[in-house]
Subunit: 492 residues, 2 copies
């Protein structure tokens, strides 16, 4: 198997694209910009889904399902939201094909089957959902509504990349309705925190929590909370967003409720989402030139066992031992696979599991049988050790935690080493060029300055961090007063 | 709460529509023929999904995800399949909206953003998937491929009904690829058996396993296996299908593999699916004039506890007791909800839980506290009993099994009472008219006779059952020779 990857140093972007395909995570499809998520990639996504779903339910949310299509008249009701997504909409205009009279065996759109009103394939579901909530909400007793949906959405992006930016992607979108502004703001913050906890603890990716500037805010939101992560090439990646939508959608769809006191008020809203983009963050945070590196929490197989044998008798002996080992590991909720394929040599198996990021590989050969040992190989550090088989289960359990923690620490260390406080624009450009990463700098708060800096450097304000670092200063570009530092970076 | 339903006798169809909406399962949306699945309905669907997903994985399948869109040129590649779905396709023709110059604040389709090739919103995914498999399959070593997808699909039906027939619906679709015909046939049969086991054991709905006639077969299949259930109005409902696709898609997409012996052969295929239609089957099999009746396996809350109290002190005492009860029940994996809302009276709560089909209701009042008792009310039988609290957990555990079994038995009894062997056409019409249900009759095997019977009676051949009843006879309509009885019924 010639699965050697381009190195990150050589061409980071090529490395990423090759890795996604060679590790069997996803591939491009026959539909422009749409991907096929392959079984191994989807198994990781299922782990992401399961844990997030658990966290959503623990915080009181329920799942539901709303239509894929949004009638144009609903789509355009909230003007800012409509404007924000209008340029990247897939639009259904007809509902029937017919035989093509000019081309036997071919079909064409039936010109008589034109829809009276065009349907937009949802790029996000605020419009269709708030039009539905109108029927669900009469009184304060009907609030809050805490609903989430797992769905596919379509945004007709011109430049696409597997997982990071695709015309169709999978995501969850929470849509909540509240009686008060304070409650809605609290919900938006809560869900941003849920995302941060998930991405840090489960995906081992450190994130900065913050809010977006006006220009980077979600179309139709009053405040966008976000979590930002730093990739190994020094570029930032927005890993999740949570929006306080104010009463914008309630007003657009006329959703009022009767308060306890009997008055009529518009409902307050939030929405929040993460997508298959998280797969891109996962890959680019941890992986190396040998392939994918998976934190144990997300690995479809946490441990793989490879037998080394020459005779069928040896294989049988190893298999007997492996059955005992697997039974024990599974008792401790460790997922383990015995790779006993007879079509591949051990070396090829090692290479494949390395490429696919299996956290821990156990090799067992005839000498191990004699000595009562096994060989352990850690994917993250690429280190090997031979241990006594008696300690195996405890050792593996310990390593699962250790690898998970170590990956997080490594990524955190990288981010810390690539977050630079900068106070003049010359240094800003130099740091951005030579080192990349987050630049913590003062900004005068205007869209003009933000746009100018982007024009000159391609860096955008990733977020205004929600941290304690709130000293005032002078804008790195204009020198005008700045209330606090913000985080700039080039971004995915 | 005026939630009284129309009775089944009065108007079965109206009863169904009211029940779906009033029990908070689903509702119509602003998009013609598309439904909103509400949280309570979706929670039932999640239980269906979870169990099926487990069963698919146990039989060696993995999940993946393929694009929502099918380019027209791929869609039409397998001619029969294309022909079968051409008349009900939603078609994307454009990818951008723009401001409408004639209507300020409104949007219109940008005429310049026309797609070069139209995209069909998948009505089923054979085409896009086989086009993908072409890249995955070179040799016999790449086979079998055992993949399933959970997805939404769109079929532009003209007459829609919540869950039973909607323009968009949720489903799973398995798509497998095999080296031999025998293996593919075995897979198609296996998955039909998985469906039967699931629907019978988990949903408590008895089914007949069979194969479809030529005219009812899936477009593009060589054999369609199915499970057919009987609803309370005597109409049949197709609950799941599994197709042996032969080499049709392999030929249409030129998917060949190198055999062990070195020759090139086309790959053999199956596909199989069940959808949110199962929700319709669930509702119509078990529910009554008071509302939904849920088998414990599918109930989001298997048990609900309602406190009866006048004073806050009483409520506190009851709450303390309920906490202990819930802890115990949960230890036995029974899902239980304490309905302590102070905005509703107990009677209203009883009515709601009855309408929503909670299998078991526990009421606890001051007298129960004195006597060490609770009142149990079974939803399926509408019977009540007072029992000593000491026996509660065992009693509830027993009832969960008993209700599950009893619902199945009741439905089986209904089906048996509504399956009639008929040997002449006059009786055929009379039974169909007066009693409904399945009619087991001889058929001469021709499409003409099948069509004629349908024209005269609206009954179709639901399936050729896979049972032992294979005696020959004379066609109920033409009198011509018939190899075996088949099942006729009016159907959803």
């Amino acid at each position: 198997m010639s699965k050697k990857l381009t190195s990150r140093k050589e061409d980071y972007s090529k490395w990423y694209n090759e890795l996604v395909v060679k590790a069997d995570l996803a591939e491009n499809s026959a539909v422009r910009g749409c991907m096929v998520i392959k079984p191994y990639g989807y198994a990781i996504w299922e782990k992401i889904q399961a844990e997030l779903d658990r966290m959503f339910k623990e915080t009181g949310h329920q799942n539901a399902y709303f239509p894929l299509f949004v009638p144009k008249s609903l789509f355009e009701a909230e003007e800012k939201n409509a404007e924000g997504f209008a340029k990247e909409c897939a639009i259904v205009t007809h509902y029937r094909l017919q035989s093509d009279p000019d081309k036997p065996g071919k079909l064409r759109v039936d010109p008589e089957a034109k829809l009276e009103e065009e349907l937009i394939v949802r790029p996000t579901s605020e419009a269709i959902i708030w039009n539905t909530y109108k029927g669900w909400i009469q009184s304060y007793r009907d609030l809050p509504i805490l609903v989430n949906q797992w769905a596919n959405v379509v945004r007709w992006e011109m430049r696409t990349r597997l997982f990071l930016r695709t015309a169709e992607f999978l995501w969850q979108e929470g849509h909540t309705a509240h009686a008060t502004k304070a409650e809605a703001v609290k919900e938006a913050e809560l869900m941003n925190n849920v995302y941060a906890t998930f991405v840090e603890n489960f995906m081992a990716i450190p994130v900065v929590k913050g809010v977006k500037t006006d220009s980077e805010r979600f179309a139709g939101a009053e405040e966008t909370y976000c979590i930002e992560a730093l990739m190994q090439d020094g570029k930032a990646l927005q890993a999740g967003t949570s929006h306080f939508l104010g009463q914008n959608f309630a007003k657009a769809f006329d959703v009022k409720f009767t308060t306890k006191e009997g008055s009529q008020e518009y409902v307050w809203a939030t929405s929040w989402g993460v997508s298959t983009r998280l797969m891109g963050a996962l890959i680019m945070t941890h992986s190396d030139d040998n392939g994918l590196v998976l934190p144990p929490n997300l690995a479809p197989n946490q441990v793989v066992i490879v037998p080394i044998y020459k005779t069928q008798e040896q294989l049988q002996e190893i298999t007997n031992l492996v059955n005992v080992i697997m039974g024990e590991l599974r008792l401790h909720n460790i997922t383990v696979k015995f790779d006993n394929r007879d079509t591949l040599r051990p070396g090829a198996k090692f290479a494949q599991h390395e490429l696919q990021g299996v956290p821990l590989r156990i090799a067992i050969g005839p000498k191990d049988l004699e000595n009562g040992t096994v060989e352990l190989a850690r994917r993250d550090t690429l280190t090997k050790e031979v241990i006594a088989i008696d300690n195996l289960t405890e050792k593996v359990k310990g390593l699962m935690t250790e690898i998970q923690t170590s990956l997080y620490q490594k990524a955190l260390h990288y981010r810390e080493a690539h977050t630079t406080e900068v106070d003049d624009f010359k240094t800003f450009k130099k740091v951005l060029e030579e080192k990349g990463g987050f630049i913590s700098a003062h900004w005068d708060g205007t869209e003009e300055t933000e746009a100018k800096i982007q024009e000159l450097t391609k860096a955008t304000i990733r977020c205004i961090p929600m941290d304690e670092n709130t000293q005032s200063g002078d804008c790195v570009y204009t020198g005008k007063p700045s209330a606090r530092r913000v985080l700039f970076a080039k971004a995915y």
